[in-house]
């Protein structure tokens, strides 16, 4: 369900202030953050964030297209390496192709 318009988008205040500060100083170094639920607002465009995924910080360079999404959408929390092809014995018995 969509968020009430009355409230406006959720933006992590602290993170927002940090971005503003960096913009003012005209600096673009990556910002380390855990605020995955923070909506990306136009002010963020061009900045790089290091978004925590529970384990590591993923590099997220914000482009114009990302506005309106959340930071967490770009830092996957799960890693899927694919299924096994089965053990040697299983393949031999024909139960696994």
């Amino acid at each position: 369900m969509a968020r009430s318009l009355k409230k406006g988008p959720f933006v992590n205040e602290k993170l927002f202030r940090k971005v503003e500060k960096l913009t003012q100083m005209d600096r673009r170094e990556p910002i380390k953050t855990w605020a995955r639920s923070c909506t990306i607002v136009p002010e963020f465009v061009g900045h790089t964030f290091l978004v925590h995924n529970g384990k590591i910080f993923n590099n997220v360079f914000v482009t114009e297209d990302m506005v309106g999404h959340k930071l967490g959408e770009f830092s996957p929390t799960r890693l899927f390496r694919g299924h096994t092809i089965g053990t040697k014995a299983q393949r031999a018995s024909g139960s696994v192709k």
Binding site: M66, G72, P76, H83, S95
Partner: protein, 127 residues
């Protein structure tokens, strides 16, 4: 057979049903269009005059995104999600459900037909 918006050829059905054969026009839009045109929805499609057909085509052309344009718009939206490397784009790329549904079971619409993998004891009929 009457033609509305290029290739769409609704048939002998009542016009309110026939309009729904156009991609992007469902029950609600169909009723709205007919109301705007002032045409009775129960009239069969082939009984409509050329004027009426032209009128319908005009309304659809002017207000609705249908057929190719609609398909393109949808594909573009998905393409955008893919390009920005978002979670949703990733789900589209992998052909898995996008809106947080479970994948432990079900999700067959997105994943396609079952690909049976034998377990330890083997699957029936695969010996």
């Amino acid at each position: 057979m009457p033609r509305i918006i290029g290739v769409d050829i609704p048939d002998k059905k009542p016009i309110r049903i026939a309009l729904r054969y156009i991609h992007g026009i469902g029950p609600v839009n169909s009723e709205l269009i007919l109301k705007e045109a002032g045409i009775d929805g129960q009239v069969r499609a082939h009984e409509l005059t050329d004027d009426q057909l032209a009128q319908l085509a005009g309304i659809i052309d002017g207000t609705y995104v249908v057929e190719g344009a609609l398909r393109r718009a949808v594909a573009q939206n998905i393409g955008r999600l893919r390009d920005i490397r978002s979670y949703r784009g990733d789900r589209h790329r992998r052909g898995l459900p996008v809106n947080g549904q479970r994948t432990r079971t079900n999700a067959r619409t997105r994943k396609g037909r079952k690909k049976t993998v034998a377990g330890k004891k083997g699957v029936k009929g695969m010996k």
